[in-house]
């Protein structure tokens, strides 16, 4: 009894988990309707492309590029990142259920809370570029790690320039 109850709970949990994820390729629409009628009704006309998800990790795809570096005390997304930002915006448009987290980072100099706000400005800059290109505002969350999670822990410009950075993460990666 206990086992079957547990299995039922697990199954329900799995179904619930499925409903919040992009549909798997073999999933039939009727199946979705049967278990999640509400979700099916509100599902957008544009379906997420399941094969596109693989591109996010494909080193040959520009979508696998997830870092944007900034100049000292600057929040401007440099021209060299135009294609990268455009590709991610296109991906978000093509995959409307996909969500993105942008984490802004700073170098180690100065107040922790002020750096947190500086990192936020960098994350907001990329978010703004993405939404201007058509990504939905509610798909993208801009947050800051300030100087709390430095990739490089040295105390010179070669390290600082690596830490003045936005990281792009997709749902499932954070």
């Amino acid at each position: 009894m206990r086992h079957s109850a547990l299995i039922a709970v697990l199954a329900a949990t799995l179904l619930a988990a499925c409903s919040s994820q992009p549909p798997a390729p073999e999933q039939k629409p009727s199946q979705t309707e049967e278990h999640q009628p509400v979700a099916a009704q509100t599902a957008p006309v544009v379906q997420d492309d399941p094969y596109a998800l693989a591109k996010l990790k494909d080193p040959k795809s520009i979508l696998s590029k997830r870092e944007i570096f900034f100049d000292y005390d600057q929040f401007v997304v440099r021209d060299e990142y135009r294609d990268l930002v455009a590709a991610h915006a296109k991906f978000l448009i093509a995959n409307p259920k996909m969500g993105m987290l942008i984490q802004g980072n700073t170098d180690e100099r100065g107040s922790r809370e002020y750096n947190l706000a500086l990192g936020q400005k960098r994350a907001e800059a990329v978010k703004k570029a993405l939404t201007l290109l058509g990504a939905r505002e509610d798909q993208v969350e801009a947050v800051s790690l300030g100087k709390e999670k430095p990739r490089c822990t040295g105390h010179d410009e070669s390290c600082w320039s690596q830490n003045r950075r936005d990281d792009i993460l997709y749902k499932g990666e954070y």
Binding site: Y114, L116, A117, Q120, E124, A142, V143, S144, K149
Partner: protein, 425 residues
Amino acid sequence: MKPLRLLAAALLAGLCQTALAQLSIEITGAGANRIPLGVASFDGERIVSQALVSVIRADLERCGLFRLVDTGTSPIAENAGINFTDWRGRGADALAVGSVIPASESGRYDTRFRLYDIQKQSVLTVGGYAHSAAPYQLRTTAHRIADTIYEKLTGEPGVFSTRIVYVLKSGSRYELQIADADGANAQVALASREPIISPTWSPDGSKLAYVSFESKKPVVYVHDLASGRRYVAANFKGSNSAPAWSPDGKQLAVVLTKDGNSQIYLLNADGSGATRIAASSGIDTEPRYTPDGQFIYFTSDRGGSPQIYRVPARGGEVQRITFEGNYNVTPRISPDGRSMAYIARDSGRFQVAIMDLTTKQTQILTDSQKDESPTFAPNGRMILYATEIGGRGVLAAVSSDGRVKQKLSVQNGDVREPSWGPFIK
């Protein structure tokens, strides 16, 4: 609860030396201003170990206002006769004596003490505390006695019984630790694999608000120390940070980015009712209430560089406070509301500065490079802050007149983000 392995004995000895060396170098005649004080061994102290008087002495010596006079090794009971001429000859202006007496209840003790004015040949105060022989109870008793002596001799309350909170980072582990004001008796309130920043005490000392990155973004928590329970005070879309308590403990000022850039909002302490207090197109952060609750001081880049501003806590006109230099951040108002400690950058050095809020006169208090997060002792006498020495994060303290300096470090790891707790009621 895991005790922090502070370099207690070695450190305390080092502290005294550092403080005294600083005094003699910086200000001629400062030594003469220190009150010569004898703290005799307490009669019966050996029953409960000798961790009582040594803590009283260390407290009083470290604070920089007293010069300890040698009292010899013989204990002097609280009710013993005092040879005032002899003590005057030894150079003491004041003398503390005491007794530790087993109480009728098993395992309990009464410690009684008496403080003499040697010049006037009079009793300044008498006092007593009941306690067990547990090390933390002995320390608490010692801190209270030191507080009483401090107050009787300086006219202002002592802070030896108060506590501090800070973050210890060792490897990839972050611990929020609470310790006595001397850094001893540390306890872990929270351990995490992700950063913790900006801890700050509720005005009654029962809770801490802080920012944790455990959910891959900054979220503000309020943590009840007695129960160990905590709740999310601010987890809006975007970043949530920089909590500050209103003096009545009913509200929190926080920084949210739910509407774009970092801006200051007021919340009820339970996290409800977020309302924006000021608006700028850039960064507003690091809010701090004045002790009377009338104003909120904060850091903003609205003028092109980070500077300190203030706004009435009920909303209203924003006023700029700092003008010297192009980087002034982290405002902290003194308990009497008369001065402001903050971090000023000058030639790439980040240092603790203090401003007289009436005259607007400023003074750099430290000579270090990477100072952060200043926090006033509840009596306003000392400012604790984080800095870096030899590549390691340490805590240091400087008196608000810049004369007394102390250092506090741990064996392994970086200490940062200090916040000094309120007076124990």
